[in-house]
């Protein structure tokens, strides 16, 4: 059965997120990652609860250990050829127009697997002061 693979899928995705986050942490002298923001489309088959469950294990022993994972769920949106309009599918992940019932090959949103931002604590700079970063980064994602 496919059932038991659900959690394996999320474990794999959680490890990939942790990998991206830790790469970034290493390249920017980030000491601790407190919160990671991700955007997950409904069509990805990722179950948020299972991803949340896998997060602690995936980050164990990394700078993101003990961090929170904030999951933004993105509903499915399609381009409907018959309506000539973009439509949001209100429930589920089947690309059918909720207005006219036509199926669509054009997925506009809902396949996202994206790390959008992270809230971090910087390592102290050699002089004892926190490392400096650009104003753009300070305000990014807010």
């Amino acid at each position: 059965l496919d059932g038991n693979s659900l959690f394996v899928h999320e474990a794999s995705i959680a490890l990939a997120i942790a990998g991206e986050v830790c790469d970034r942490a290493a390249s920017e002298r980030i000491e601790r990652v407190r919160t990671v923001f991700v955007r997950i489309g409904v069509m990805t088959g990722v179950v948020p609860e299972a991803l949340q469950f896998a997060w602690d294990l995936a980050t164990d022993g990394t700078p993101a250990a003990g961090s929170r994972l904030k999951i933004e769920r993105v509903p499915l949106a399609i381009a409907c050829a018959r309506c000539n309009a973009e439509r949001t599918v209100t429930s589920g992940a089947i690309p059918v127009c909720p207005v006219c019932g036509e199926s669509s090959n054009e997925i506009v949103r809902g396949r996202e697997l994206l790390v959008t931002a992270m809230e971090v604590e910087d390592a102290a700079a050699p002089g004892g002061r926190p490392a400096e970063h650009s104003a753009q980064e300070q305000h990014a994602g807010t």
Partner: protein
Amino acid sequence: MPLRLVDVQQSILRKNSTLAHELRRRFEQTGTFVLNALSSPGSGKTALIEETLTRLRGRYRVAALVGDQATENDAQRLARSGAPVKQISTGAECRLDAQMVTQALDDDAFAALELLTIENVGNLICPAEYDLGEDLRVVLFSVTEGEDKPLKYPLAFTTAHAAVVSKIDLATATEFDREAAIKNIHVVHPDLPVLELSVKTGEGVDRWIEFLETRIAQKRVLVS
């Protein structure tokens, strides 16, 4: 220590996408056509690929990769076709990824191929998300699995280039509703080519081979 917000905007599967892109470029250079077969366990991926390799190995330089979490049974079955076969043991992982394929290809028997078949791990969720640099992604389901498979696993059908309905010799015994199955495929992916076949009786297999060879020929024209 003050907290700082870092803008990331990075795809979670960035590394896989990069490697898949490299694989696709390499397959273009070597003129290799790559088939990636996805299905639940027991849909008949191995049987179809074994039959495909057996029929085509006289005409093309072929080889097969097969992903499996634990056993080597599928690799042994594919090897009966006479084609070079390599098993990729994925362990806990529920899918193949581009890195596993890249590593497996580091082998003389897998150089200068014309057709590479990749049998993914039996699962319709995880493999759908991982690009392997393939030209043709085929999703299979057998008549014994019921007509609603496409509705349960839409991503696998959305990302596929063709669907195969297998084991049609059992359609009557299982009261398979063919119209409903094809309708469900097209609800998820309008106009997706559907091939119905039974490796056991041979019904529909010629059409499958013809479909595959047409795609192989199309790639040859494109890359030459």
